[in-house]
């Protein structure tokens, strides 16, 4: 049984107009694999509790982890995490969870990451693990965000990194002079910017359910084997 642990907020940073990254110090956490998530539990003064799953943007040993959280309008937990949780506050967490949507440095297959909105968070853990281990495995990220200001980890993703290729697509508003007009990810985008099916890449797709389903079914149409396309949906 994984059980609940109490984390303390060590740092917190605004990432987008609706999103925040939170660094938690969780005594006894003991490390996690890139791509895993946790359950966070918040308790109201009247004792009412709510639990939601959040992806972890970091991996490796240690008790310090980073979460990326996007505010869900009318949500029970995310508005509290994004707007109210302060440095020094406690947060109950259970994890690390999930052994399916994970990447380990010993995997040698080329990796295609595809994220929508805050779905980039577990993919960021994979990118950081890839970078930290100086892995030569070819990595590509296709990241669909609403606009430039809605891009999580913008500065870090702009840094060049060997064996990593990053493509940003914007759904609502593209920066001036951007080569592609704003719009949802299309089949043509996937053909132009992602690894082709014939090299059998491991594909990780994370984001809102409609985004994940649209992208995953198009990838299968393009010849990717369904078992090579791992998905994680977070509703929406």
């Amino acid at each position: 049984m994984v059980g609940w642990k109490v984390g303390v907020v060590a740092e917190s940073r605004s990432e987008t107009p609706s999103g925040r990254s939170i660094i938690l110090e969780v005594p006894g956490w003991g490390g996690n694999i890139a791509g895993q998530h946790l359950d966070a539990r918040v308790t109201a003064p009247d004792g009412y509790q709510a639990v939601r799953a959040y992806s972890i943007a970091t991996s490796g040993d240690g008790d310090r982890i980073q979460l990326g959280v996007d505010r869900v309008q009318g949500g029970e937990v995310s508005p509290y995490l994004v707007d109210d949780l302060q440095v020094g506050d406690a947060l109950e967490v259970k994890g690390p969870l999930g052994g399916w949507f994970v990447w380990k440095p010993e995997h040698t297959q080329s990796v295609q990451l595809i994220g929508g909105g805050s779905g980039v968070v577990p993919l960021m853990a994979m990118i950081r693990s890839h970078r930290a281990t100086q892995s030569a495995v070819p990595f590509r990220l296709l990241y669909s965000a609403r606009s430039e200001e809605h891009t999580f980890f913008r500065d870090e993703l702009a840094q060049s990194s060997p064996a990593l290729d990053v493509t940003l697509l914007y759904t609502r508003q593209a920066p001036d002079g951007w080569p592609r007009a704003a719009g949802r990810v299309t089949k043509e985008d996937l053909v132009a910017t992602t690894f082709p099916a014939d090299i059998s890449p491991s594909v990780f797709v994370c984001g809102p359910t409609p985004f994940v389903e649209a992208v995953a079914s198009t990838l299968v149409e393009l010849g990717h084997h369904p078992l090579m396309v791992k998905t994680e949906r977070f509703g929406g």
């Binding site: 049984m1 994984v2 998530h37 946790l38 359950d39 709510a50 639990v51 799953a53 259970k94 994890g95 969870l97 999930g98 052994g99 399916w100 949507f101 359910t209 791992k230 998905t231 994680e232 949906r233 977070f234 509703g235």
Partner: protein
């Protein structure tokens, strides 16, 4: 059907029932015979109860309902569950 997530979302609640990560276990649907990791299947609901549906035919594989004494799991749609050998 709308409003679902996937089996990754129940890793936490399932960790109270199984000592291993059950989302990586493969389950065979009793209705259509499709085999998938639980992480791939569709999950509806939330803390008030989860319904896990087959990725292939959308029939119910498993239901998790909180009861006063703990979590009750009904696996009526699962023909078998294959648990990965620990590494």
């Amino acid at each position: 059907m709308d409003g679902h997530v996937d089996g990754n979302a129940i890793a936490g609640v399932m960790s109270d029932i199984f000592a291993f990560d059950v989302t990586t276990a493969r389950a065979r649907c009793r209705t259509c015979g499709a085999v998938a990791a639980l992480a791939q299947d569709m999950v509806y609901g939330g803390e008030q109860g989860y319904v896990v549906r087959c990725l292939g035919c959308e029939d119910v594989l498993m239901v998790l309902v909180p009861e006063p004494n703990g979590m009750r799991m009904q696996m009526r749609g699962i023909a078998w569950l294959e648990v990965p050998r620990p590494v």
